[in-house]
């Protein structure tokens, strides 16, 4: 509604649109398009939160006054530099680790400043995110690992196709020759409906968002989440894992989709090129690289 309204803003109108949206959001795209026309759009960038902002935010969230949460707010602000996304992540993390709990006896949120301080002293944003992802169930972790290999923005159908294929014979074969550990603890449990619940869980945790214009496209809530998810894959297995994902995409994508995802598929397959011994397969991948190179040169 807002997007379509924006399309009809007359040139002399003074309108104010608050945006706290991702750069790929349709509204962001519409705004960028409008910036090319004669409509005078002023963009006000919102910086990081100040200590006062963080204090107010936490006080509001915990239904307490500013003075009570001041120490907690100071610790959180120090670790997050006031990045709103990370402030929320830290608070959720404290709750997940039961360092911030709701005491039903006194009907208040409680925490211990020293414990929180000690925990946060050893953790940075990256480790908080990794720990958060590790608390997800194994199936959901696998979904997020797969997605992290596909990029900051990815197709849910591609994730589904990959997880479906990794759970069956391919996965079993890989596990049996010990090239890669099983991605799922219980393969039979990894059904499409369970994939849906994983996606729901990830969305609920604010780890990724579905594009409003296309329900099949998702993006990570922050690039550090993608990095953290990727780091869940053991270093020694990453290239094999990405190569396997590339092979599945090659097999499953229809020709049009494959052409539009050519760079991603080739890059993924290249990760494990050292493991390819079959001459035909090497030649076929070399030809794909040639196609990708020509495509990007002519773009």
């Amino acid at each position: 509604m807002l997007v379509s309204s924006l399309a009809y803003i007359p040139p002399d109108t003074h309108s104010c649109v608050f945006r706290l949206i991702h750069r790929t959001h349709p509204l962001a795209l519409q705004i960028r398009e409008k910036e090319q026309t004669d409509i005078d759009l002023m963009s006000i960038e919102i910086g990081n939160l100040t200590l006062e902002n963080v204090t107010s935010l936490i006080a509001e969230a915990l239904d307490m006054d500013d003075d009570t949460v001041k120490n907690l707010a100071t610790i959180v602000h120090k670790k997050t530099s006031g990045n709103a996304f990370f402030v929320l992540m830290f608070l959720r993390s404290l709750h997940d680790e039961e360092l911030l709990t709701y005491n039903f006896g006194i009907m208040k949120w409680t925490w211990d400043d020293d414990t929180v301080n000690a925990m946060l002293a050893t953790e940075n944003v990256a480790t908080v995110l990794i720990n958060k992802l590790k608390r997800l169930n194994t199936r959901t972790q696998n979904v997020v690992k797969v997605a992290s290999c596909l990029g900051a923005k990815f197709s849910l159908s591609a994730v589904a196709a990959i997880t479906d294929n990794l759970r069956t014979s391919e996965l079993r074969r890989l596990s049996s020759i010990e090239q890669m550990p099983p991605l799922t603890e219980d393969e039979d449990d990894n059904t499409t409906s369970n994939l849906g619940s994983s996606l729901h869980e990830l969305q609920g945790e604010g780890l990724w968002e579905v594009e409003s214009g296309d329900a099949d496209i998702c993006h990570f809530g922050h690039d550090k989440i993608q990095t953290a998810a990727f780091e869940l894959i053991p270093l020694s297995k990453r290239d094999t894992f990405r190569g396997k994902i590339g092979n599945i995409l090659l097999e499953k994508l229809d020709p049009d989709k494959l052409e539009s995802s050519l760079f991603e598929v080739v890059s993924l397959r290249n990760c494990s090129m050292g493991n390819i011994t079959d001459e035909d397969e090497r030649t076929e991948l070399a030809k794909m690289n040639l196609r990708a190179g020509m495509k990007v040169s002519n773009s």
């Binding site: 090129m273 070399a286 690289n289 040639l290």
Partner: protein, 191 residues
């Protein structure tokens, strides 16, 4: 400055603006080359040739000159036709020109034209009489045709001549850099 020189500079500016794209392209070409390996020429000659030639071009434009030289050497050492080697020669010529060795670029371009079987003068000073003679000859060939008429001439279809013309363009630009005093008539020396 001559129009063809401007055109070449514009061409390079355009290519420079696309350097980021060539960085990515180089990654794919190098990966393909690595996959086929030294025996690639025996496995799939056409793929290997394109990977090496286009890879050399992408490496040149992205500044990876070591890999460019390696890929060029691969192509130029093969027992294949001059037409097949043309892209590699063109990149080689541009790289020599970009390094400031204008005389080297002229020698290379003349050599390529010779290999293509196109008549080309020797790279040595000529006297003014020859310049005037070639100028008159060219003027007669052009006759009373206007610039528009010349521009509307049918496109060249002979691949060999097209390649020769591309070398001529490089040759011309290098010649200007060798001697800033060259006049348009000098171009007439190259038939």
């Amino acid at each position: 400055m001559y129009s063809s020189d401007n055109r070449l500079i514009s061409y390079h500016k355009l290519k420079a603006s696309k350097n980021a794209a060539f960085d990515s392209a180089a990654v794919y070409f190098k990966a393909g080359y690595k996959l086929l390996g030294p025996s690639g020429w025996g496995i799939d000659q056409q793929t290997m040739l394109t990977l090496c030639s286009q890879g050399a071009n992408a490496c040149f434009l992205s500044g990876d000159l070591d890999t460019m030289n390696k890929l060029l050497a691969e192509v130029l050492s093969q027992d294949i036709s001059i037409q097949d080697k043309f892209v590699a020669y063109e990149v080689n010529c541009l790289a020599i020109y970009a390094a400031g060795d204008f005389m080297g670029a002229i020698d290379t371009a003349i050599d390529v034209r010779r290999q293509l079987g196109l008549s080309t003068f020797k790279n040595k000073p000529v006297n003014t009489l020859i310049i005037i003679k070639e100028f008159i000859k060219t003027k007669r060939t052009v006759g009373s045709r206007t610039a528009e008429e010349i521009a509307n001439l049918p496109d060249l279809t002979d691949e060999r001549v097209v390649m020769g013309q591309r070398m001529l363009e490089l040759l011309f630009t290098s010649s200007i850099d060798v001697s800033k005093n060259l006049k348009l008539e000098d171009l007439c020396l190259v038939k």
